[in-house]
Symmetry: C2
Subunit: 199 residues, 2 copies
C-alpha cells in the first residue's frame, strides 16, 4: 500500500475485505470486476487506481487478506504447537473458524486450483500463502521433536506434510459436502498419526 494516504489505504482495505467475501462465496470464476464494483460500491476509476492490473491484482490482495485472516483464527496455537495441548487447541481453533463459514469456496487451495490453468504465476503467488501455513506446522513439529515429545527418528518435514495434507483434504471435502465432519475427521486422524510417534 505504498504511496497511499491513510484514507486511501483504508478504502483499499475495505474493497479487499468486501471483495474477499464475494470471492469466497462465488469463486474466482464466478466473479467479474463489475460485480466487485457493485458489491463494494466502487467506481471504475477507483478500482483501477487501487488495482492497476485489474482482477489479477485484486486476486493477489484477496489471497493475502484471506490467508492472514485464516492464520489469525488459529492464533495463539499456530505459533506454539510445542505441546500436545497446543496441537489440540490448534485443531479446535481450525474447526471453530470453519464452522462459522457457510461459504463454498473458503480455502486458498480452491483458489489455487481455479487459477492454475489460467494463470500459473498468480497461482504461485497464492500458493505461497499455503506454504506459510505449512511452515507454521513444520516449525511446530520441529519444536515437538527438539523437546523429544516425538520420536527424533521420524522425518519432521514428512510429519508436517502429513498434517498439512490432512488439513487441505479436510477443507476440500468440507467444501464439497458443505459439512464440518470431513475436516474434523481429517484433523483428528492427523493428530492420531502424529501421536503415534509420541515418546
Amino acid at each position: 500500500m505504498s504511496g497511499l494516504t491513510a484514507k486511501g489505504a483504508a478504502t483499499k482495505a475495505r474493497i479487499v475485505r468486501t471483495a474477499t467475501d464475494l470471492i469466497l462465496e462465488r469463486g474466482v470464476g464466478g466473479m467479474t470486476l463489475d460485480e466487485i464494483r457493485a458489491g463494494t460500491a466502487t467506481s471504475k476509476g477507483q478500482l483501477f487506481h487501487y488495482f492497476p492490473d485489474g482482477k489479477r491484482d485484486l486476486v493477489a490482495a484477496i489471497a493475502e487478506f484471506q490467508s492472514g485472516r485464516v492464520l489469525e483464527a488459529q492464533r495463539p496455537w499456530l505459533d506454539q504447537l510445542d505441546s500436545w495441548e497446543s496441537w489440540h487447541g490448534w485443531r479446535d481453533a481450525v474447526i471453530a473458524h470453519y464452522r462459522t463459514l457457510t461459504h463454498l469456496h473458503c480455502s486458498i487451495s480452491a483458489l489455487i486450483t481455479e487459477l492454475t490453468p489460467a494463470d500459473p504465476a498468480l497461482a504461485a503467488t497464492v500458493a505461497a500463502h499455503a506454504d506459510r501455513w505449512f511452515d507454521h506446522l513444520a516449525a511446530g513439529v520441529q519444536k515437538m521433536r527438539a523437546q523429544r515429545r516425538i520420536n527424533p527418528a521420524a522425518d519432521p518435514h514428512r510429519l508436517a506434510m502429513m498434517v498439512f495434507t490432512a488439513l487441505q483434504g479436510g477443507l476440500l471435502v468440507m467444501q464439497a459436502k458443505n459439512a464440518i465432519e470431513p475436516l474434523e475427521a481429517a484433523l483428528d486422524g492427523a493428530l492420531l498419526a502424529l501421536e503415534s510417534h509420541r515418546i
Copy 2:
C-alpha cells in the same frame, strides 16, 4: 452408449479417452471444444453426434472414464481392504498409479472445484464418482470392524472419511507441488491413524 453401433461406441470411447488425457493436462477451463476436436481428430458433426449437449456431456463422460481408470488402478486391493496387508497394498497401488502421471490436473476433486461455480449440477455428477471411491474405503473399514481388526467403538464412517480426506488432500498438494511426497505422507498418516484403532 445406448443406440450406438459397435463402431460408434468404439469411436465415442476413443474420443473420451483422448479428451480425458487432454483435460487432465490442461484442466476443464483450459480446454475448448475446438481443441478437443483437433486433439481427437473429430469433426464438429461427429462430436455433436456423440455429445449432443457439447462440453457438458463430454465432461461427464470424461469424469466417468477417469474415475473408472483410477479405481481400476487400485484393484484388487480396493475391493478387499479386509486385512492390514490389503490396506498397505492399496496404499502402494495408489502411489504407483499417481507416480506415473505427470499431469497437473489429475484428480477428480480438481475437476469438481473447477466446475462448482460454473455448473453445480455437473459438479454433482462428477462428485458422485468421488463418492464411489469413498464407498469402497467405507466398505473396507466396515470389514475390518466386522472382523474385529479395529476397535468396534470407533465410528467406521468417520474412519473412512479420515482416510478419504487424507487421500484427497494428498492428491491436491501433490498437484500443487508436482511431487509424490505429499500423497505418500498423507496415506502413511491415514494408515497410522487407522492402525491406532487396531485391537
